[in-house]
């Protein structure tokens, strides 16, 4: 797969060894068990493991996977996990991704459901939770900065950059002020983009951080 992808969006750098199913399984289990704090923490940890630590996919591929997950129904992060599983090992990779991610998180969710009332009644755990809540805001900000930077990659400073900024501002006002439906905004932006065809980016010369 991926033969049409541009160099920057290829799943992984050339020469990267493919991860074994066992490696994938342990990495998903760890993400599912330890990414406390909701979607932002989970997405951040997925990027840490898949892009930064192992290089199993490239940063642009990860960003594109997240962007595409916004146009399909259901939990976005599961759609990202399905795409990562698909490029890593096909259907077995998808199965490992979903079971590995959901097994620990669903189990902990069930256990927490049983004891949450008790934990909330304890001053110590309530105070700890009160500290975790704003940290999830900070983690969401960290993920958001990465996503926004990824979207503006390739915008440049000329007319295209200004037009891209205008598109983002219209989307912000449309959702934040006028409460337009998010799927409608996404579809309208894609349709607008389809009216302005863009040539694929030139392949950059090979070098560190820019595999051939």
């Amino acid at each position: 797969m991926g033969e049409h992808l541009s160099p920057g969006e290829a799943p992984a750098g050339a020469g990267r060894p493919s991860p074994s199913l066992l490696e994938l399984w342990w990495s998903w289990l760890a993400i599912g068990a330890f990414s406390l704090g909701g979607g932002a923490a989970t997405l951040l940890q997925m990027r840490r493991v898949w892009v930064d630590r192992h290089g199993w996919v490239s940063g642009p591929f990860f960003d594109r996977a997240f962007q595409m997950s916004q146009v399909v129904p259901g939990i976005n992060i599961l759609a990202v996990a399905i795409q990562l599983g698909r490029v890593s090992a096909g259907w077995p990779g998808i199965l490992v991704a979903l079971v590995g991610l959901l097994l620990p998180s669903a189990t902990i969710t069930v256990l927490l459901t049983q004891v949450f009332g008790f934990l909330q009644a304890q001053a110590f755990t309530r105070a700890a939770l009160d500290g975790v809540v704003p940290a999830t805001g900070g983690l969401t900000a960290a993920v958001s900065v990465q996503m926004v930077a990824a979207a503006f990659r390739g915008s440049g400073r000329g007319r295209r950059g200004l037009r891209d900024l205008a598109v983002v501002l219209v989307c912000v006002v449309g959702l934040g002020v006028f409460r337009w439906p998010a799927p409608l905004i996404l579809l309208a932006a894609a349709a607008f983009g389809a009216l302005l065809p863009e040539a694929p980016p030139e392949a950059k010369p090979a070098g560190p951080g820019n595999p051939p």
Partner: protein, 169 residues
Amino acid sequence: VTAGGLFWLFFVASLLTFGGFGGLPIVHQELVESGSLSDAQFAHALAVGLTAPGPNGLYIISLGYLLGGIPGALAATFAVALPPFTILPVASAYDRFAHRPRVRSALRHLGLAVAGLVMVALWSILRGTVGGLADAGIAFGAFLLATRTRVHVTVPLGLAALAGVLVHR
């Protein structure tokens, strides 16, 4: 409520909406307004979903457990896991057509729109999670640790829990 009934409710709510919390109004209407759950139980499940590890939207598993025990939780897990599979035809189409200039541009603009929506969501989340100077300090510290270092995500969360104990207790 049977496990099959829960599966169908959560599956439809997830299939018809976007994001982890998109199906919340449907689920709330079906379960709370019908009298199957109280508002307090619903809030309990939401709080658990926000606290537990993993993606947003797992509050549905907590609801499934509250209503149907382990079979209910399993039904909820399958119900939320299936709709994201619609990404597969989307990703295949992307692989086939991404080289075409119009498709490339459409996807780039989709990315720009996602950036806009992310900014709105961030503003809403920060307003909901940061309530004072101490909270702002914790949030900023977590942001710095996440963007300037490569520590595991449990480090900022663990330090935030410690700060919470020192500040709020």
